[in-house]
Amino acid sequence: MSNELELSRKSVPLIEKFVKNFIKLSAFGAILISIAIVLTLSTEAINFFQSPEVTLKEYFTATRWTPTFKNPEYGVLPLISSTLYIATIACLISFPIGLFSAIYLSEFASKRTRKIIKPVLELLAGVPTVVFGYFALNWITPNIVQKFIPGTGVFNAISAGMAVGIMIVPTIASISDDALNAVPKGLKMGAFALGSTKRITALKIMLPAAISGIIASFILGFSRAIGETMIVTIAGGQYPELNLDPRSAMYTITSSIVNVSLGDTPHGTTAYNALFALGITLFLMTFILNLASDYISRKYRKVYE
């Protein structure tokens, strides 16, 4: 018996099991938290839709969002339209600037210039959004928007959108830059060897070859713009009705959540539960965008050997 070869499982050191399970726990922790968020959001949101004051139909068709008023209305349309409106302005600013900086950085800039510009861009990504918010309110609005566009209010969608756009430029530039740099060097060499100029090589060869990463960066940027809270709360205003004039205030999903949760809305009321309905609406929007980004980058990914 004592001479028998010891091969049983108990010879595995305890530390192996411990480390494996600990690492496993961390990995699954993130998933568990996501599930917990969805569950919390949806249970409270279900409570919201079950309350007599609101119906699903009203939620999606009414054009006012005034949960704390005496006669509350719960129409999410103005919030969604404001959110998409400001995010679109942000994209109009950030897509070209972000993409062009990425092209410049990866195709035209010298090593030295790149060494300077890249950290500065990353610095921009590190600026707290509250700073962007006040920058939009106290600088962009009076110095740019009100000067060039008459009739602009103190709180307006244009400044908020511009500031959000500036905020997401680094995201787009950095991901697009990575995408361009991931294109095999041989393609660039091949284009140059055929007598292309830098411009043709960058725009006709490198850009199409990196398009999946670039589109993914656009979608991610758009998704960040939708979820951005501080800037739009500070500079975007709180106009609770359906409004398509960018010169006046709007009311995004995020800033209405902030607004209700900052007030003294009692726990359990319909106005309180409305927050969770908004939360899950926002969650679904960004979730779908992230899925789209994933799908596109898979579909258009060019496979190089």
Binding site: S110, M189, A191, A193, L194, S196, K204, K302, E305
Partner: protein, 275 residues
């Protein structure tokens, strides 16, 4: 060194009827303070295949890339000496590297077709060079010249990345000759290919040399002996600071190089004793 100069003189006297394409005079290429290849002087001839052979790191690829100014894309690279192409100094201030590359095409070690259709791969270079008249005819002609037409004529819209490695390399040759250069530089064009695909490219070179001057860098000295008319042997020599610099050892017509080399170093390499 003495043997090299002597040898060059011999040749110029005996091959007086040949037109020179590249005339290389005391060319060195540096990357920063590192000398990759030093003091090369040689002549290359029109409608001939010239092969560069030698062990890794001997500077043969570096040198060939300075012939169409691809080295310009490496910021630290610096070419000194003189490279005359049909009498024009390629590194003259007035010379546009883009124009140089339009005249001197290049095929790379790893097949690098663009991630576009077969047709687009060839049309790209034609558009870049404003040769869009009779686009389809030009595409067919280039593919035919590159011995690829019969294999791909039915699916010109197929993505080039779906072709086999050997087909991809022939497509790269096709897109290079489509823009009608005078000279084709080939930087180890077969090193990523299997023997069958290699044979096809080698046969192709024999056809193309009637129209173009070809310069090929190869690791494979058997390939050099099979395909080339002239052959240059490079090697590395240790410098004082312990790094290695490439040098031209011997340059001659291929038959002489492989049967009766002047330098003992060449003989050792060719007989497989080092490298």
């Amino acid at each position: 060194m003495k043997g090299v100069t002597l040898n060059m003189e011999n040749k110029t006297s005996s091959k007086i009827d040949l037109d020179s394409v590249f005339s290389v005079k005391n060319v060195s290429v540096n990357y920063g303070d590192f000398v990759a290849v030093k003091n090369v002087s040689m002549e290359m001839y029109k409608n001939k295949i010239t092969a560069f052979i030698g062990p890794s790191g001997c500077g043969k690829s570096t040198l060939i890339r300075s012939f169409n100014r691809m080295n310009d894309l490496v910021p630290s690279a610096k070419v000194s000496g003189e490279i005359l192409y049909q009498g024009i100094n390629l590194y003259d201030q007035n010379v546009d590297p883009v124009q140089v590359r339009r005249r001197i095409g290049m095929v790379f070690q790893k097949p690098n077709p663009f991630p576009k259709s077969i047709k687009e791969n060839i049309a790209f270079g034609l558009r870049v060079n404003n040769m869009t008249d009779n686009l389809d005819d030009r595409i067919e002609k280039a593919l035919t010249q590159a011995a690829l037409w019969d294999e791909v004529k039915k699916d010109l819209d197929k993505n080039a990345l779906d072709l086999s490695g050997g087909q991809q390399q022939r497509l790269c040759i096709a897109r290079t000759i489509a823009v009608e250069p005078d000279t084709i530089l080939m930087d180890e064009p077969c090193s990523a290919l299997d023997p069958v695909a290699t044979k096809k490219i080698e046969d192709l070179m024999q056809l193309l040399v009637n129209e173009f001057s070809i310069l090929i860098v190869t690791h494979n000295m058997h390939q050099a002996s099979r395909v080339s008319d002239y052959c240059a042997f490079f090697t590395t020599k240790a410098t004082e600071d312990g790094r290695r610099t490439g040098e031209l050892v011997e340059y001659n017509d291929t038959k002489t190089m492989f049967t009766n080399p002047i330098q003992s170093l060449t003989e050792e390499y060719i007989s497989g004793r080092f490298g």
